[in-house]
Structure formats: C-alpha cells, structure tokens
C-alpha cells in the first residue's frame, strides 16, 4: 500500500513536471522579443510577422479590472457576513452555501449567461463584457477564501473594537488588517483563475488584433490567443500559440511562487 502511495505522489510530481516542461520545451525556442512586444502584423494568422502583445495587454486589462471590481464587491460581503451577522445566522449559512455553488459553476455557463444578458441589453462582445463576466467568475473565489479566514478572527478582537466604542462599521479597519494575508492570497488565486479563463471570455470579450482603447471594444486574451492559433493548419501559426502558452504558464507560475514570498509581508500585523 505504501508503495502505491509513493507512486501516486511520484505520478503527481511527474504530471506537474510534464505539463510545465512540455509547454516550455516546445514554446521557449519559438519565443522571441518581437512576439511579446508587438501586435500581430498583416497576415499574422497566415504566418506573417508580429506578435501577441494584443493578447497580453488584453488579458492584463481584463484581469486588472476584474480583480479590482472583485475586491470592491467581496470585501464588503465578507465583512458583512462576519461582523454584521451574528455567528450562526441562517442568512449567513445560506449565503455561504450559495457562494460554494457559484464557485462550482463552470465558466462556460458564466460565459453563456453573460452573453445572453449582453444580447438582452444590446451590448456586443467587449472589454467591459469580459471584465464583468470574469468579475462574476472570481467573486465566489474571493469571498470563499477570505471568509474561510475571517471566520477564525478571534471574537476578542471584535470585542476590543466594540469596547472602545466603535460601531460595527468602524471595526472594518481592524478586520481588514487582520485578514490582510487572506486578502492577498485570495487576490492571487483570483488573478490566477482570471488570467487562465478562456470559456468565459470567449463569448463576452471577443477577439481583436489591436489593443482596445475603450471599454466597448473587443479584446484578445492570452488563453484564447493560444486556443485560436492552435486551430490553424499552419505550423508557423501553431508555433506562436506555443510561445503564448509559455508566457501564460510563466505568469501563472510566477503568481503561485511569488505569492508565497509576498504572503509574509501581509502577515506582519496579524494577531494569532
């Protein structure tokens, strides 16, 4: 039995190495400065010159916007669930269940839903649309992971605030500082999920060869850039997809490794 267990661990380590290395091995030789620093030239998708800066910037726009919107919405919700509602509140437990469910709903469903809403309002695929859908997609991640930590806030801490005469709202300074590490973790998790999402933005953000200059323009994203280019029959174009995949993997790995380092900085004020 123990042998099998070791094997399972070895297998998982192998999978990680295999995914990362195979993408890197295929993509890094094809990666060039031109690819990450220039827009697709004419006939790019037939093998012309240029790069996929449009996808990199588009992804950054969407992820940046969605992360900020997500934080603005989820911090108040977590605060409400943990400070305004008493422990054991019925509404609180229903809300937490609902966020768990929302977390489980696949991004393609978010995309399809977002798309129907956009059609209903007469909107077309755009940077704004993509941002909103990705925001909806990451809100449950934000809330769940911050709430997990907020639930463990010592009651003494809230009481310390109250006994100094602060209102519930005024304890937000205490709570936010206390869960600062959780906010940082949740943000990194969400960025990771947001930047990798393809199915949600496929319907709602569209695709474009240019960098969007307004919220109503369509925009490319890295995962879709990888996906679309791999569909091409031309090897030249496929190669670019592998290069883009390297960039995407690199970003995600950096987030996951860098996150561990940053985390300590946010924990400095935390009360154990």
């Amino acid at each position: 039995m123990k042998g099998l267990m070791y094997a399972s661990i070895a297998l998982v380590v192998y999978f990680v190495a295999s995914v990362v290395l195979s993408v890197f091995k295929r993509g890094i030789p094809l990666l060039s400065w031109e690819m990450v620093s220039s827009l697709p030239g004419g006939g790019f998708y037939m093998g012309g010159g240029g790069g996929f800066l449009n996808a990199i910037v588009g992804s950054l726009y969407i992820v940046g916007g969605a992360t900020i919107l997500g934080l603005v919405i989820s911090i108040p919700v977590v605060f409400y669930l943990n400070v305004y509602l008493k422990a054991g509140s019925r509404f609180g437990s229903i809300a937490r269940l609902a966020y768990d469910v929302l977390f489980g709903i696949p991004s393609i469903v978010y995309g399809a839903f977002g798309f129907t809403i956009m059609i209903y309002f007469g909107l077309r695929a755009s940077l704004l649309g993509g941002m909103i859908v990705v925001t909806l997609l990451i809100i449950p991640i934000f809330i769940r992971s911050m709430d997990e930590v907020a639930k463990t806030i010592p009651t003494e801490l809230l009481e310390a605030g109250y006994s100094l005469g602060s209102t519930r709202w005024e304890t937000i300074g205490i709570i936010v500082r206390q869960i600062a590490p959780a906010i940082a973790t949740a943000t990194l998790l969400s960025i990771g999920r947001a930047i990798g999402d393809a199915a949600g933005v496929m319907f709602t953000a569209g695709f474009s060869d240019r960098i969007p200059t307004s919220l109503t323009q369509q925009t490319a994203t890295l995962p879709l850039s990888v996906y679309f280019q791999l569909q091409s029959p031309s090897l030249e174009v496929q190669n670019r997809a592998y290069a883009a995949a390297v960039v995407l993997t690199f970003i995600v790995l950096t987030l996951s490794i860098g996150g561990r380092i940053i985390m300590n900085r946010f924990s400095r004020n935390k009360i154990q």
Partner: protein, 278 residues
Amino acid sequence: MFDFLHRNITSSKEKPFVVNNKFPRPENMRLTTHALSIYIGGNPILKHVNVDIPRNKITCIIGPSGCGKTTLLRTFNRLVDTIEGVNIEGVVMLGDRNIVTAGASELTEIRRAIGLVPQRPCPLPMSIYDNIAYGCRIHGISGRRKLDAIVEYYLRAVGLWDEVKDRLHTPANKLSGGQQQRLCLARSLAIEPSYLLADESTSALDPISSRTVEELFVQLKKDYSIVMVTHTLRQARRIADHIIFMYLGEVIEEGDADQVFNHPKHELTQRYLDGAFS
C-alpha cells in the same frame, strides 16, 4: 521594583485633555444594577442581581466558575449583545442612563465611558501607535501632534513608553504578553473612560507581568473605578476594596473587602473562602 510606575504617572507631563467629551465624567456618577436578570437561550444566567459599584475603588467579582461573573461584567458595557439569543431584564444604570435600553448611538458613548481590558492580551492588528490612536480616531480626535501627545501620555501611564518609544510604528503583535496587556490597558485609558472593566486580565500572563498589571490597577484607582473578575482569591485579597461574591447567577454577598474576607455574613461565602468549592 515598581518605582517606574510612580515616576511615570506623576511625571511632569500634563495630561492631554483632548477628548471633547459629550459624555462627561461626573465624579459622582454611579454604576448600579437593579433586578438584573439575563437569559441565554431561555436559561437564566443572572438572577435578580442588585449591585452598586463604588467610585475610585477596585471592585472584585469572585465566585466559582460558571457563576455568571463574566456575564455580569459584560453586561456593564453590553458586550453580552454579541451572544445569540440573549435576553436582558432589569436595569443597569450609569448615572441617570439605563445601559440596558441604550440605543446604538448611546451605546458607543457608554462603551467609551466604561473601558474593557480583555482576558487574553488582544492588541489590534496594527502598530503600537495605532493601537492607542485607533480609539481616539473613531471618537473624532485627529491631528498628528494631538495624537502623539496622547500616545506618549498613556504609554507612560502604563510604564510602556521607555520600552517601546523607539518602535512605535512596529506591529503590536511583536510585544511580549505582559507588554501587550499593558498596551490594551493604555488603549482603554486613551479614550478617557471613568470605569474600567477587567476580565481576569492577568490570568494569561506570567507571574511578573501579572504583578506589574495588578500594580497598575492599584495606581489607576485614583482616577478610575475598576471592576475586576478575578480567577484567584489571593489576587482579590491583595487588591480588592469591594467584593461581590456570586454563586449560580445570584449575588450572595456584597460589601467592603475587609468585611467580606474577615467577617462574611453568609455561610456560603465562608465556605467558598475556605476553599470548600471553587
């Protein structure tokens, strides 16, 4: 050993009276309860409690665990509200205000007039400086110089200034347990309460820090009225001026410390003092 306390509290520094107090500190305002009963989920926790907390004295609430002493203490600043299914009957008066029926806005003022030193040291997750400034800020005191003066004054008052003056802006969680507890005390004092509640505030500390904090309370009764729940009879004997003995949610005996310890009127008190149960 505690020389520094005297030196600091009577230091030449003027007390920075900066709180524009809408809830004044009348020196003769009393904290009393009349027929106070508390139910949690239908179970009686306090039964018909009548106590009268004297001014500028240390009142110790003693009694076996589960007798309701902490609940009584937490009723004084209405922290019992945070418990689900709590029901309060009777009256708790602070001067001419009924704490039990106080509305939300009155409550923040009452809590400011009645400070709490928690059981375990519980600094706020911010710097040492901000721990003290936090309370002042929410009560509308701002201005760097004013806050600097307040922070220094109250850190001196608890004998912490010399230990932390070079690292005021480092996180408070880096302090030792005893230092943290004194910080919590300074934090409560900074919003100028007239009553101080202490919930076994020395129980989580090492003996030396515990003695330091205890000494501080004795020093402070000059300016504050202190209500303590204490876990050891020995501590009560050392510092109490007034004693409330509780048993199963009822006040069995209340009176001058000397009288209660040496000539208890009630047999139950005598047996408790003898260590027959705890």
